[in-house]
């Protein structure tokens, strides 16, 4: 079955070609069928492959298709790697991808036909690139996918390209990603220099013999790549701006799949990271800092998508914390559950925005639960899942990361818990402001409020079910013996680097249960508090002050970047333009012209027409040559 692996990315590629080339000819229905069908076909193949990978005697396979780069001693084949990790990601990408494609058919229905097809073409291209990213058997193929998803992200953020602000958001995302990509690229070059190969199996086999400098350098550079793609400090500001794209795009690219590419990459390179403890600590600290930083910003945002965007950044920070403390399974587990509930929340937000006619400010919403029962209920389930209430999925994955963090250092744990509490607070603030209380919008908006069509509610329901039960594949040891199915499934990939699996490192069961219970209790209190506080919210024009204002303005990070990078860069450009260009380069060019003109004018005087002067010069020149030759010899 894994021989058919090439079909998985091929279907979306064909979908992209058909929709992209035929965008002026195809009808909406046809575009929808091609767009959704191609991803669905990939999903079916992925399921079959997953079935095969689940067999107990399955060995990871590298399937080579052709030589991609072959020069001298370096050979980079175009090869796919089928193992537990990639097959799990295949399921997430194509599964969530199918649902979001289906959702998009309804959400984007108001678009003109060519734009509709363009949207689906981009979306299919994105799925294709993402599949390439997770299937690649070496870092170069992964990098192709890496760049491809960055491009699609850019195209889709700027999908409504007539709006300048959206275009700027797209450019910002692209440029910030490029900064990270440079790190990735340098890491690949370093690998070629040190290991002579880019394939995972080769490098992981040779890694234990490499020096600490090489490993730390490579892993740090890879991590820089991950901070760009996965929106971590200092390169996170593009993700909130990326909300300019259509909401299903935010759900698919900027919550469920693309932004987890960095986590996939580090999890894939777990052998390298486990050999570089310095990098691991940096990853954990950056992840934790991002988690808590983004959570504080999310507390005060009023745009429904911005709250979710900062929440995504924060949850990604959690995943990096998991990677940094060595809980690779936990991080992948959180990627999976996060894909479910965050896609659900974004799609729910999209459903609300759709009903509110592109109103995104939650201060103008409220009381939507009686107008949109399905959206309301699924959104509530998503909020419970992300807040970490058992037995919803978020609880299990978050708990696993927090336990591993505690084993590494209680400081990590404390900050992780603070973030978890803030997460519960801002999610239920968002929920209560949107769905509870009285409607605060205009009369006309209220008149048009309606539940979204089936194509939008079905994905919501499916994702809600997954958000609720998705955590059950990873029940911790303490609650039920031997039921962490994900851990045993992924064990072959992380066998050498997973911590916390050996019994000596385990917490006692009672203390683990205690930590779990206290955390859940605190979160419940916070939820009830937020629910009651914001249910009877009424609009005020009061200017917020102090810390609240700083948070509303996102800690002024954008302004800070503008001040330390944007402004100096622009004044430097101005200096180059006004001084170096105008005086230096133009001066040289014009100077050459002027020098030729001037010397020509002067030399013309020699040609006087006086034959005598010609001969005089000739004689003097001859004498001069004789003298030169005379002295040259001696």
């Amino acid at each position: 079955m894994s021989k058919l692996i090439y079909l998985v990315p091929l279907f979306p590629l064909f979908g992209f070609l058909i929709n992209g080339l035929g965008r002026k000819a195809l009808s909406r229905t046809l575009v929808s069928i091609v767009g959704v069908g191609s991803v669905l076909a990939s999903f079916v193949v992925s399921l079959l492959i997953f079935q095969e990978v689940r067999e107990p005697d399955f060995a990871p396979q590298v399937i080579t298709f052709f030589d991609f780069i072959k020069t001298g001693r370096l050979n980079i084949p175009f090869a796919f790697q089928v193992d537990q990790l990639s097959s799990l990601f295949l399921l997430i990408i194509t599964g969530v991808g199918t649902l979001i494609h289906l959702y998009s058919t309804a959400y984007m229905h108001e678009e003109n036909e060519p734009d509709f097809a363009r949207y689906f073409a981009y979306l299919n291209l994105f799925i294709f690139s993402m599949l390439l990213l997770v299937l690649g058997a070496n870092y170069v193929i992964m990098f192709i996918g890496w760049e491809g998803v960055g491009l699609c992200s850019y195209l889709l953020i700027g999908y409504w390209f007539k709006n300048d602000a959206f275009n700027n958001a797209a450019k910002k995302a692209f440029v910030m990603n490029r900064i990270g990509d440079l790190g990735f690229l340098l890491a690949v070059f370093w690998m070629i220099a040190s290991f002579g190969s880019t394939s995972f199996t080769d490098i992981f086999a040779k890694a234990p013999e490499a020096t600490a400098t090489v490993l730390t350098g490579i892993t740090l550079l890879l991590f820089i790549g991950a901070t760009g793609k996965s929106a971590q400090i200092p390169l996170f500001t593009w993700l909130p701006d990326a909300m300019a794209g259509p909401t299903p795009v935010s759900a698919l690219i900027h919550a469920a799949t693309m932004v987890t590419a960095g986590i996939y990459m580090i999890a894939r390179s777990n052998v390298l990271y486990s050999l570089a403890p310095i990098t691991q600590n940096i990853v954990a600290v950056i992840g934790l800092a991002t988690a808590i930083f983004a959570a504080t910003i999310a507390l005060k945002q009023n745009d429904i998508k911005k709250v979710l965007a900062y929440s995504t950044v924060s949850q990604l920070g959690y995943m990096f914390l998991g990677l940094g403390v060595g809980a690779y399974t936990g991080a992948i587990f959180h990627v999976m559950t996060h894909a479910f509930f965050k896609a659900l929340l974004f799609l729910g937000a999209g459903s609300v925005i759709h009903a509110m006619h592109h109103e995104q400010d939650i201060r103008n919403m409220g009381g939507l639960k009686k107008f949109m029962p399905v959206t309301h209920f699924t959104f509530l389930l998503g909020c419970l899942a992300i807040a970490g209430i058992p037995p919803f999925s978020g609880f299990f994955s978050k708990d696993e990361i927090l336990t591993a963090a505690f084993l590494k250092s209680p400081v990590y744990y404390v900050f992780g818990v603070i973030t978890a509490i803030m997460t519960a607070f801002y999610m239920f603030r968002l929920y209560a402001l949107t769905f509870q209380g009285k409607f605060r919008g205009t009369q006309e908006q209220e008149h048009h409020l309606h539940e979204s069509p089936g194509a939008m509610t079905i994905p919501l329901i499916v994702l809600a079910i997954l958000s609720v039960i998705g955590g059950l594949i990873g029940i911790p040891e303490v609650l039920m013996k031997d039921s962490h199915r994900l851990n045993s499934f992924l064990l072959p990939v992380f066998a050498d680097s997973q911590v916390g699996t050996e019994p000596a490192n385990h917490l006692t069961h009672s203390s683990e249960l205690l930590m779990m219970g206290v955390l859940v209790a605190v979160i419940l209190v916070v939820i009830v508090y937020a629910w009651r506080k914001f249910s009877d919210y009424s609009k005020t024009t009061r200017e917020s002050s102090g810390l609240a204002r700083v948070l509303e303005n996102k800690w002024y990070v954008d302004e800070f970047y503008e001040a330390i990078i944007g402004k100096p860069l622009r004044s430097f450009s101005r200096f180059l333009n006004n001084t170096v260009e105008r005086l230096g380069i133009d001066g040289i060019v014009n100077g050459v012209g002027r020098a030729v003109q001037y010397s020509g004018r002067q030399l013309r005087l020699i040609q006087s027409g006086q034959v005598g002067s010609y001969i005089l010069i000739m004689v003097f020149a001859t004498v001069l040559f004789f003298i030169i030759q005379l002295f040259w010899k001696s």
């Binding site: 040609q607 006087s608 027409g609 006086q610 034959v611 005598g612 001969i615 005089l616 004689v619």
Partner: protein
């Protein structure tokens, strides 16, 4: 007679020729000075030719070394004769047109 004497004579003639060409304005006098320079060279050629020929004879009784120099002199004389005919013809034509052989007056070639 040592070859140095011939060289000094030749250099003197050549310098007189150059000085004449540079200082005189009459085209015909300039022409004569050019002839002077050519003949200074001719003297050198003949002198060196004779010198080499004597040196060659000393080594080998049947040697013809150095005879090329004298040959060249004849070529130069032929070429000089041809040049003189053309040059004098031009000067005659100039005189017919502008009634002057003053080269300072003949500077319209630059245009």
């Amino acid at each position: 007679m040592p070859v140095n004497y011939y060289i000094f004579l030749s250099v003197a003639l050549f310098c007189i020729g150059i000085a004449g060409v540079l200082t005189r304005r009459n085209a015909i006098v300039i022409f004569m000075c050019i002839e002077l320079m050519l003949n200074a060279v001719n003297i050198l050629l003949v002198a060196f030719s004779k010198m080499h020929h004597l040196a060659g004879l000393a080594a080998d009784a049947g040697s013809r070394a150095g005879s090329e120099g004298q040959l060249f002199v004849f070529f130069i004389m032929v070429v000089a004769a041809a040049e003189v005919t053309v040059g004098l013809a031009i000067i005659v034509m100039l005189y017919r047109n502008i009634h002057s052989v003053d080269i300072n007056f003949l500077n319209r070639l630059k245009h």
